[in-house]
C-alpha cells in the first residue's frame, strides 16, 4: 500500500519525444489509418480519372445520374458531421443527454444516407446500368461508379456500426469530460467519410 503511494509520487519517466497527439495515442493511430485510407480512395479516384480520360464515349453523369437525390445525400452527410462535432462538444462538457441525442442523430443521418444509396443503386440497375455496361456509353462508367460509391458506402456502413458501438459504450457516461477521446476518434473517422463523399460527389456526379 505504502509502496503504491510512493510510486504515484515518483517522477514520471519522460518519453524521448513528446507525442504528436498528447490526448491519446488512439487519435494518432486513427490519423495514420485515415492517411492510408485516403490513399485507397486517391488510387480509386485517379484510376477513375484515367479510364474516363481515355474513353471517348464517356456518358455525361448529369444526364444519367440523379443529381437532386445525391445533392440531398451530400447535405445529409454535412449535417451529420455537424451533429457529430456537437456530440463531441457535449461529451467534453460532460453533458450526457446532449451527447446521446447528437450521437443518435449522427447515426440516423448515416443510416438514411445508406438507405438513399440503396434506393439509388436499385433505380440505376433497373435502368440498365451494371458493373459491365450501361445504356449511355462506355461500360467503365458503371464499373467505376459502383466501385467508388460502393467503397464509400462500405465506409459509411462501418461508420454507422462504429458510432453505434460508441453510443452503447458511452450510454452511461463513460466518455464524458476528460475521457471523451474515443468520441473524438470516431468523429475523425466520420468527418473523413464526409470529406471523401464531398470529393466523390464532385468527381463522379458533377464533373
Amino acid at each position: 500500500m505504502s509502496e503504491a503511494v510512493v510510486d504515484s509520487h515518483a517522477p514520471v519517466q519522460q518519453p524521448a519525444e513528446s507525442p504528436v497527439t498528447p490526448e491519446s495515442w488512439g487519435k494518432l493511430g486513427m490519423w495514420v489509418f485515415l492517411a492510408g485510407d485516403a490513399m485507397s480512395f486517391g488510387g480509386l479516384l485517379a484510376g477513375y480519372g484515367a479510364m474516363r480520360a481515355s474513353s471517348p464515349d464517356w456518358p455525361n453523369p448529369l444526364d444519367s445520374l440523379g443529381i437532386q437525390l445525391t445533392a440531398f445525400m451530400t447535405f445529409l452527410l454535412i449535417v451529420s458531421s455537424f451533429t457529430m462535432v456537437k456530440a463531441l462538444s457535449a461529451a467534453k462538457h460532460s453533458d450526457l443527454p446532449n451527447f446521446r441525442k447528437y450521437l443518435l442523430l449522427t447515426i440516423i443521418g448515416g443510416a438514411i444516407f445508406l438507405g438513399l444509396q440503396a434506393y439509388e443503386w436499385t433505380h440505376l440497375t433497373q435502368v440498365g446500368m451494371t458493373m459491365s455496361g450501361n445504356p449511355w456509353g462506355a461500360p467503365l462508367f458503371g464499373t467505376t461508379f459502383y466501385i467508388l460509391t460502393g467503397f464509400h458506402g462500405c465506409h459509411v456502413f462501418g461508420g454507422v456500426v462504429y458510432l453505434t458501438c460508441v453510443l452503447f459504450a458511452g450510454m452511461n457516461g463513460k466518455f464524458l469530460g476528460k475521457n471523451s477521446s474515443p468520441v473524438e476518434i470516431v468523429g475523425l473517422y466520420w468527418h473523413f467519410v464526409d470529406l471523401v463523399w464531398i470529393l466523390v460527389f464532385t468527381f463522379v456526379y458533377l464533373l
Binding site: A38, G43, G49, S54, F75, D194, L195, T202
Partner: protein, 115 residues
C-alpha cells in the same frame, strides 16, 4: 506537459453551425456551376476549387486540424502529395492511350496475311 493538455482542450470552439451553413452554401454553388457555366474547362476548375475548399473546411474545423500540431497536418497531407504524384505519372499514359484507340483493328487483321 500539463499546460499543453489544457491548451489543447480549451481552444476556442469554432462556430460549427456557421461551418455547416457555409458547406451547404458551397454545395448549392457547386450545383449551379454545370447549368450556368458552359465552358467545360472553366466549369471543371470551379468545381474542383469548390470541392477542395469544402474538404479543407471539414478537415480544418470539424477534424480540428487547425488546432493541432503541424506534424499531424504533415501526416494528413502526405497521401494528398502522393496522389498528385500519381496523377502526374498517369498523364503521359492518358494521351498515348487515346492516340492508339482507333487504328488498332486494321493492323490486327492484316498481320496474318503478311506471314
Amino acid at each position: 506537459m500539463a499546460n499543453e493538455h489544457a491548451a489543447h482542450a480549451d481552444h476556442v470552439e469554432p462556430n460549427y453551425l456557421a461551418i455547416m451553413v457555409l458547406l451547404t452554401v458551397l454545395t448549392i454553388l457547386e450545383l449551379l456551376v454545370p447549368p450556368l457555366v458552359s465552358d467545360k474547362l472553366t466549369a471543371g476548375s470551379l468545381l474542383v476549387i469548390l470541392a477542395v475548399v469544402k474538404a479543407l473546411l471539414v478537415a480544418l474545423y470539424f477534424m480540428h486540424l487547425r488546432f493541432e500540431r503541424t506534424t499531424l497536418s504533415v501526416i494528413a497531407l502526405t497521401p494528398m502529395a502522393i496522389c498528385v504524384f500519381l496523377i502526374i505519372m498517369l498523364l503521359p499514359d492518358l494521351t498515348s492511350t487515346t492516340r492508339t484507340y482507333t487504328p488498332a483493328e486494321p493492323t490486327a487483321v492484316s498481320e496474318p496475311a503478311g506471314h
